[in-house]
Amino acid sequence: MAATSATRSLGRPAILVLSAAAIVAAYLVLVPLCVLLFSAFRGPPDYLPFESQARWSLENLAALYHNTALLGRMLPDTLMSVAGTVICTSVTAFALAWLVERTDMPGARWAFVLILFPLLIPVNILAVAWIYLMGPNAGWLNVALRALLGLEGSGPINIFSMGGLILCQSLVLTPYVFLLLLATLRSMNPAMEEASAASGASQFTTFRRVTLPMLLPGILAPVILATIIVLEQFELPLMIGLPARLNIFAYRIYYELNPADGLPNYGAAAAISFVFLFVAVLLLFVYNRAVRHADRFTTITGKAYRQKQLKLGRWKLPAILFLCGYLALAAVLPATVLVWTSFFGFTVPSLDALPTYSAAAYRSLFSDHRFWLGLRNTLIVASLSALVVTVLGAALGLIITRTRLRWRGAVDVMSFLSIGIPSVIVGLAVMIIFLTVPIGVYGTIWILLIAYSYRLATTTRTARAALMQIHTELEEASTASGAGWLTTQRRIVLPLLAPAMASAFMLLFIIGAREFTIPLVLASDDNIVISVLIWRLYQAGQSAETAALATLVILAVLPVLLLARLLPIARSSMD
């Protein structure tokens, strides 16, 4: 008869607080979506969707489908980049997770920290670094390879190609999938494998017949999530896909808003968004099914087991080489090239270059008012949006787990939907709203705050999971002691929820600080953030200043990375 506490009617304060949270959340997630759907059906294209001259029309969608040249390029390019990235990422991430979690790989804990590196750095900084490394002419790796192989001219690696795009996207995506797979691997009961071994199966047979089939549902979910994330990727299609003349969807939306000639075409941007939103939401429901299926399989029970570690033996050397190669490309070389360039300009490192050392780039950066403005804006927007989303997530978690309100299922679905909304689409939708509603938000950091705060899924899920761990009797004991709803939330629930919500806040802060797409779409002179400044400096060809700013970001991230070593998920990989 336990767990039915929710049947009691909620008091007025509870209803008031929770409904307010739900309304704000619905505004942040649903209004942009509705505006977008609306805009896709308003024309003609050169009017804002809400302007009085605009009218209902199917022009936008019709134009998109008749534009076979565009579709003929965009669909295959997007498909190819997504498929290639997901395959490369899955293989790499699984190999890494397996090596770190299930083998006697030396230095696994440090490897774990380095693997997380790309997760913390804004993607456009990584893109700059990879371009410096693998640019066809002066890229460090190309110069080195040409010297090694005695080649002339440019190449042999060209980052500005489909292969280059897939490589970079995979490097960006691998840490996400790695973390999710690590959790899956840990949740596997070792008794399953031991039972197979006790039945006379060899290690390889056990892996093939027991381990892999049991892990499969747990692998499927991260792979689908990776697909959604890569579909939303904007920085790399912009910085690598565009020079390679690749037409990737997320970039295409931005292009329609900032065409080389003429006015922004809101209708066309909305029409393209419409199609991809549909795909993303579809994937999301497949993901949800996969997760539920995984639950049925009970490999994922939330319980972590101490895993048996396999001896690598003669595979040790190849494994170490693989790991080092990956880490070099994903973390060590990008950091090195940026630090070097910040002091020596974009040159190939050599002893002769050392006397040309100069800190001029840093001086020029520190005297640039955009740097200080961007720093301030980044910190304000990232921390405020993380706060908003954490508080809302906690409230939505309460609605979902602690009430019997009729609309609590809708709240759950809504918060979950937010994963599937590409940030370029949110940027577009918020732009249309505040171009139409003149309340003086457009061009300020507050429009960024509103746009950033749609990512409710992470905090809601965190709060939900944490609340499920909190026995309802702890709250009932408080009410039975004479405390009302608000007092109970303040003195019992919030303190118990705080550790989980603090880590969710950290995560959202990092996501906010890395955000590039939304502030670029909504950019003005006043609301510049660090990631947009990087892009501006890079576009202006100021490579030393770009690298100097990137180096500062890396320095800021290092303590976070070292802290990550203390996270439970990192710890148990070595204990």
Binding site: T4, T7, R8, S9, H471, E473, T479, R491
Partner: protein, 366 residues
């Protein structure tokens, strides 16, 4: 005092069935007494308790605490939990892990309006801790308490604001068997010492017997029998109450003659043994005879008297330490269980006689 009058509660289940979890339950507890609701899991005892607490809202019926109506569905009266003058001990103890012992116990005082002075909070908290023997552990973090200590802290927290009614929801079920026995005694002493009116929910008849002045046996949402522990044990009114309150042989039979409140001759099904017992029914009535295993005398030699004596063979015996449970095959549909001391003369297959004390056997109409 607590009065519960015709309480009903249904739950909407997944298959749209609406079982009455609490079905017309009425009872009352005089001031300073402890009442136990006893029944198997799912019988509705916990739901009844939660309706009294206000953690569930009853569909109909009235709950009065200390004379004041706190819940009356017909008049749409429902006082929220935190306004009711109650203290509650939960099954999981629900000790808040982010507070120390003092913080847990003083909590009900700190949330009450008007809030007492700091010194008063301190004094009353320490007094409650002293009542449960935890006064030396006030600073201990809640996460570093044993099961028994958590139990004491939970009790201290429940009584610190001197509630009119103390509610205990299976408070001993989380303890291991040995600790449960000592805590049962201590809990009984502590409740008596505090002198609070208490409603105690349990599925363990030993707890109910040890703690309660009166008890109600619940089955499928109803109180099937109510009374003081001794009467209930000695005179169950249904085979359910008989078997739930302790081990019982229930032997089917038929009244042959007599009865009507006097001595009747009951023919047991099977081999047709006859017992002479006081029974209410009339000749021809089908009845169940309830015989407790400890109320049967077992002997290897034929006893001198031959009324209420059955002969049989030891089908099986189970050694339980202090006692041995014998299963005697004496021609009734089920073997008769008898508990006695270990006796080398009694071995499986051996011929035995069992004497049934007619004053300690009950006859129930079927």
């Amino acid at each position: 005092m607590l009065e519960v009058i015709e309480l009903c509660k249904t739950f909407q289940t997944a298959d749209r069935a609406q079982p009455r979890v609490v079905d017309n339950v009425s009872f009352s507890i005089p001031d300073g007494q402890c009442y136990a609701l006893l029944g198997p899991s799912g019988c509705g005892k916990t739901t009844t308790l939660r309706c009294v607490a206000g953690l569930e809202q009853a569909d109909s019926g009235i709950v009065r605490i200390g004379g004041a109506v706190v819940s009356d569905a017909a008049r749409a009266v429902f006082m929220p939990v935190h306004e009711r003058p109650i203290g509650m001990v939960f099954q999981s103890y629900a000790i808040w892990p982010h507070m120390d012992v003092f913080g847990n116990v003083s909590y009900p005082l700190t949330v009450s309006r008007p809030r007492p002075e700091k010194a008063e909070i301190r004094d009353r908290t320490m007094q409650a801790l002293t009542q449960v023997g935890m006064q030396d552990m006030a600073d201990r973090p809640a996460t570093r308490l044993s099961g028994g200590q958590q139990q004491r802290v939970a009790l201290a927290r429940a009584v610190v604001r001197q509630p009119k009614l103390l509610l205990l929801d299976e408070p001993l079920s989380n303890l291991d068997a040995r600790l449960r026995e000592t805590m049962r005694q201590e809990l009984s002493d502590m409740i008596a010492r505090i002198g609070v009116t208490a409603l105690y929910v349990t599925h363990d008849q030993a707890e109910a017997f040890a703690l309660a002045h009166r008890m109600g046996v619940m089955d499928r949402g109803r109180i099937v029998q109510e009374g003081d522990p001794r009467t209930l044990y000695a005179a169950p009114q249904s085979t359910f109450a008989a078997s739930f309150l302790g081990a019982a042989n229930i032997v089917a039979g038929c009244i042959e003659s007599g009865g009507g409140g006097g001595v009747a001759v009951v023919v047991l099904d099977g081999a047709g043994h006859r017992l002479a017992i006081v029974a209410a029914g009339k000749p021809g009535d089908a009845v169940d005879v309830v015989i407790r295993p400890e109320d049967v005398q077992l002997s290897a030699a034929k006893p001198e008297r031959d009324d209420n004596v059955l002969s049989g063979k030891i089908a099986r015996l189970t050694f339980l330490g202090s006692l041995v449970e014998y299963h005697i095959d004496c021609g009734t549909p089920h073997a008769v269980r008898v508990s006695g001391r270990a006796d080398p003369g009694l071995a499986p297959g051996g011929l035995v006689w069992i004497c049934i004390d007619p004053k300690r056997a009950a006859v129930l109409a079927r």
